[in-house]
Amino acid sequence: MSGKMNSIFRKFLIVAFSLGIAGTGSAYAKDDVTNVSTTDRAVDFAHNLDDYVPAKKNYNFYFTYKIVHPWWDAVALGMEDAQRKYLEKGIVITYEYMAPEAASYEDQTKRLMQAQDGNYDVIGVDVADEEKISPVLDKMIDSGEKVMTFSSSDAASGCKRIAYVGNTHNYQDGADLTEALCEKLGYKGKIGILVGSYGAPCHEDRAKGAKDTIAKYKNMEIVAVEYDMDSIDKAYELSVDMLKDNPDIAGFVCCNMSNPVGTARAVTELGSEAVIVGMDHDQEALHYLKDGVIYCLGVQDCYSIGFDTLQVAVKIADGNLPGELFPDKTDESTTIIYQEDAEAMLENLYGDVSQ
């Protein structure tokens, strides 16, 4: 019975997503977060290539992203799906999809420089630090490279990169998650904020959205803002410290994928009743959501980000620019899910809720 329901649920998500896309198809740069009800779609696995006919039979891309992390593994799966579908049409796409073990603009700069020396049709980058990386991208464009940004973080405004595919509403995601937390707490209490990597636009934007939201309520106070550098262990340590420094802390806003896992571990261990809101679909985080330790999670559609990134890369490789074929910013959705959605999401993403 639950398998059947799950199948219906998936189909419903797909239909809902399709309708959502149809409704927002012309909005290339939509800044509003898709903070929708729990029954709406979170991740869409049913993709087909659009009608665009690639000019070549072979493409070779290079993608680099912030850090080796399951979040980008999900993006990779969307890319692989698109690659297979192109292959079915006789178009061979090869690519590299590389990241360092720890987020670093220096490492990313080095990788981009090496990629520039390779024979790639398009170079894609998930910007580790917009301030440091954007100039690098401009130079690459100036030297004739076709550069795009993708997944979680775009380059700085005014950067010459050709296009961006990914989350365009990180600020709103942070604001919406925090709004849910404030409502849950009755608009009062002390809040701790955990961010990912310094300078990572997506993380910083979400943190800013969180801060601005809390500032609206006079009875709420931010007691700490800490960066875990995308490490779960670090997030745990920081959360423990925050809880020890502020035993009456009422809630946490977690701005990346590792934050909510580390915070949930700390809250559980210390027996705190602090309410946690966070980002993404880490399996452990989903289990905490299922168990009620985490209040809600903002799940980005990584799979679609990967799929669309490859489609846009093919168009860019053929010399196309943002316009009718693809927007400057291809928006991907974020869905806030709650405890009642956790089991279905675990099954959807990881195949087995018990695993």
Partner: protein, 504 residues
């Protein structure tokens, strides 16, 4: 102990109760046999189901094991072939990997270098977080794991450690991913949908996405069967999964019985579960069983009918035999009684009968119940003379003639031969009323017989008087009168004993 007489009713009741008991025993025996047959059939079905499933699960588990072992061998050979090639660029490496992937007909064939960079036919990616076997820095032995592809299919991942250098880089692992749906196809289970199977993780999650029957479907098997088996069975089932053990479970859901057999697939952490609905085998057996039962029922009904008819016949025969025996006994008794009271020579009542009658009459006389009774004492004249002169045969004829004569005249009386030549006639009712005329006629006849030299009988009679206490009193008077008559007849020429004695 006083023996009780067995009556016809006793025999009938005993026979009836016996028949009912026999029938009840036959019915009870039939019922018990039927229950036994059903129980035996169910046991046979369960045994056949379990045997069938165990065999099936075992074969299929071995198929998966063979698949894994074969793939490990292929991977070793593939790596060896790649190592033998002169690969100087990533493009050449991708082409080599592509050839091996096609050769092995699998989803993903990949090599991993010392920096955890994964090389496949079309992509090169950092795989540290994506592949669990890369958590450890070094890989010492073959590994088997299940990969849950984010939102997609589930795959079997086989990893072998390797030690080769390509393009100056050290490679540490080779892995393949096999879509579990392909494994499911390989298992080629029956297409009649009578047998269901699925692969499960040790946590009870369905990883083959095949439906294990309509009730369990693709749900977590622990969740699905909870409540339908005992707590003990459920815990044992979970433990078996956790410890990679085999077993059998009987599920009874809404009166539908399913036999579930589970077999661990070595090294994978999977349990292969096969389920068959008992009704499938039962349907096969049922037709035969029903025919057999129908035949048994017919036999029992036939037996009951035969037993009933036989019992009825037996009952009838016993009753008839008993009745005939009774009649015979009555008849014999009557004959014996008749023989005891009848004079064998003349056929009239004898002295024994007279004494019985006398005894009965004495009682009635004493009670004053008789007012009209006459007794005639008779004696044959000249019997000794005939015996002596003409032989006993002639004497016997004389007795019979005398008897006939007496009976002829005293036809309304009871005639008794009380001695060799003595007779007594008792007269009551009409015989009493006509006694004077009859006696007169008799005496006249006798007197004529004297002249004809035929049988002469002297008679005397007397009637019951109020003073008489017993019949003998009447007899005495009649006897006296008889002697007087004898004298009278002697005077008329009749032979008498005295005469006989005198003439000798």
């Amino acid at each position: 102990m006083k023996s009780k007489r067995i009556t016809e009713k006793t025999v009938s009741v005993t026979a009836a109760i016996g028949s009912v008991l026999i029938m009840l025993m036959i019915i009870a025996n039939t019922y018990w046999t039927s229950k036994q047959a059903i129980s035996s059939t169910n046991q046979a079905v369960a045994a056949v189901s379990a045997f069938y499933l165990e065999s099936m699960a075992d074969r299929r588990a071995k198929t998966i094991t063979n698949l894994i072992n074969n793939n490990f061998d292929y991977m070793e050979k593939a790596v060896s072939l790649i190592d033998d090639e002169q690969i100087d660029s990533q493009q050449e490496l991708r082409a080599a990997i592509g050839r091996m992937k096609r050769l092995l007909s699998i989803n993903r064939f990949a090599l991993v270098d010392e920096d955890n960079i994964v090389y496949t036919q079309y992509t090169t990616y950092t795989g540290g977080s994506r592949h669990s076997f890369l958590v450890n820095e070094t890989l010492d032995e073959k590994m088997i794991s299940t990969v849950f592809i984010y939102g997609s299919s589930k795959e079997l991942c086989l990893v072998i450690p390797i030690d080769i250098k390509i393009m100056g880089k050290q490679f540490k692992a080779c892995f393949v991913q096999i879509n579990i749906n392909d494994i499911v196809d390989l298992l080629a289970f029956d297409d009649q949908q009578s047998t269901h199977f699925a692969l499960y993780s040790e946590n009870g999650g369905n990883i083959s996405e095949t439906e294990l029957g309509p009730y369990i479907g693709t749900k977590n098997i622990f969740d699905a069967i909870k409540g339908n088996v005992s707590e003990e069975e459920w815990n044992l089932f979970r433990d078996d999964f956790a410890n990679g053990k085999r077993g059998t479970l009987i599920l009874n859901i809404s009166d539908v019985v399913d036999t579930v057999c589970y077999e661990p697939v070595p090294d994978t952490g999977w349990e292969l579960v096969v389920m068959i609905r008992d009704s499938v085998i039962q349907d096969q057996i049922q037709e035969i069983s029903e025919k057999s039962l129908a035949a048994s029922h017919m036999q029992v009904v036939f037996l009951l009918v035969v037993a009933t008819l036989f019992s009825a016949l037996l009952f009838y025969l016993i009753r008839r035999v008993a009745k005939e025996k009774l009649e015979e006994e009555k008849e014999k008794s009557k004959v014996f009684r008749s023989m005891a009271n009848t004079d064998s020579m003349t056929g009239i009542r004898n002295k024994h009968a007279y004494l019985e009658t006398e005894n009965q009459l004495n009682g009635r006389i004493r009670e004053g119940l008789i007012d009209k009774l006459a007794l005639v004492a008779c004696d044959i004249n000249g019997l000794k003379y005939v015996n002596d002169t003409k032989g006993h045969a002639a004497g016997d004829r004389l007795i019979k003639d005398a008897s006939d004569l007496i009976c002829d005249y005293f036809s309304h009386g009871s005639v008794y031969r009380t001695g060799g030549d003595e007779f007594v006639v008792l007269l009551q009712g009409k015989g009493y009323d006509n006694k004077e005329e009859v006696i007169a006629a008799f005496n006249k006849k006798i007197e004529e017989n004297i002249k004809k030299n035929e049988v002469v009988v002297s008679i005397g009679y007397s009637t019951l008087s109020s003073d008489d206490e017993q019949l003998y009193d009447v007899f005495e008077r009649a006897d006296h009168m008889m002697y007087d008559r004898k004298k009278e007849l002697k005077s008329m020429g009749a032979k008498t004993r005295e005469f006989d004695e005198e003439t000798q």
